[in-house]
Amino acid sequence: MKSAGTIVAVALLIAAGIAIAPLAATEIPPAERRSGYSFMAPDTKAIQDDDTANPGMLWVLDGEALWNSKAGATGNACADCHNDARASMKGVAARYPAYDKALARPVNLEQRINLCRTRQQQATPFAFESRDLLALTAFVAEQSRGAAIAPEATAELAPFVAKGRDFFMRRQGQLNLGCTNCHDDNWDKHLAGSAVTQALPTGYPIYRLEWQSLGSLQRRLRNCITGMRAQNYDYGAPELVELELYLMTRARGMPIETPAVRP
């Protein structure tokens, strides 16, 4: 009897395992996608909705000043080549990370700005998470506010999207969690007091109240990876850019909110 009971229990576990396994890899259907904005309290939404209350706009203003200020050996400002960002940068952030032919891999918006600085302006690149880089990124991305997220669906990018998706689905770290375990399977629940949300990066760089500062998507990703107690990656690491790219394909068609406010 005892052994028969064990067999039944094992059989049940196997059956349960089979039932759970496909769920773990289920991405959120497009109709059920929700921006992190929709999970926020009315007070926090109000901060984002009012451009004179949204602290992210302070960085956007800084970014506008940087856009027009000369830099590097060429003495050119961003505006000297790209003219008015309101026209030239409209919709640009919606398709980043994008493929860079010279590097033969995708680069995110921060890296694109730094590539422009080193290649075109012959200036020193900004440090990741520096106020200047965040400001210029926020200013450029703000020009795409309301534009639908549209990462390029090219054959060149496909393998990188796949790698990013693999990262998202793979269990890792001391807690043996994959991103998907929270953000696909449990986005409607809470982790401690906070909404889990759906991992749709619609408003980066974001002003995060917890940070009391603007921060990049990579900063947010590194937070999560630390939380999983997994091996982290340096800012600008290809793995993080691939993950960013996959996340943007998840959010395809959703409007850009930069600079978003998050709790």
């Binding site: 451009d51 004179t52 706009m57 009391q212």
Partner: protein, 106 residues
């Protein structure tokens, strides 16, 4: 770098209650935090915010370390005449910033 974001209605009716919103860029370092090496990070906060209307003080606030970075101060006043609001923020390490906004009252 960019400092203040001010939201004052450009026009108002005489006697109308208007809301004034101000956002100032500042790290508001509390002075209670330590670096990884154990060194105290010195306090660096805004200590005072003042709003004057046509030279007369109409609002003042003292700020303390518990106030978050980039302080957002909003208050109400009654629009009695056209004029100019002058805002001033004073803080540690010689921090001073000013901004102004005009209103026309009909």
């Amino acid at each position: 770098m960019a400092s203040a974001l001010i939201n004052v209605p450009k026009k108002a009716k005489r006697g109308e209650i208007i809301e004034i919103k101000t956002l100032m860029s500042h790290i508001m370092e509390t002075g209670y935090r330590h670096t990884a090496a154990g060194q105290l990070v010195p306090r660096d906060i805004i200590t005072s915010f003042t709003c004057r209307f046509n030279g007369a003080e109409i609002f003042r606030a003292d700020l303390f370390p518990a106030i978050a970075a980039n302080p957002f101060v909003t208050f109400f006043t009654i629009a009695n005449e056209s004029g100019k609001f002058d805002f001033e923020w004073i803080g540690d390490n010689g921090f001073t910033e000013t901004a102004s906004a005009a209103i026309s009252v009909e």
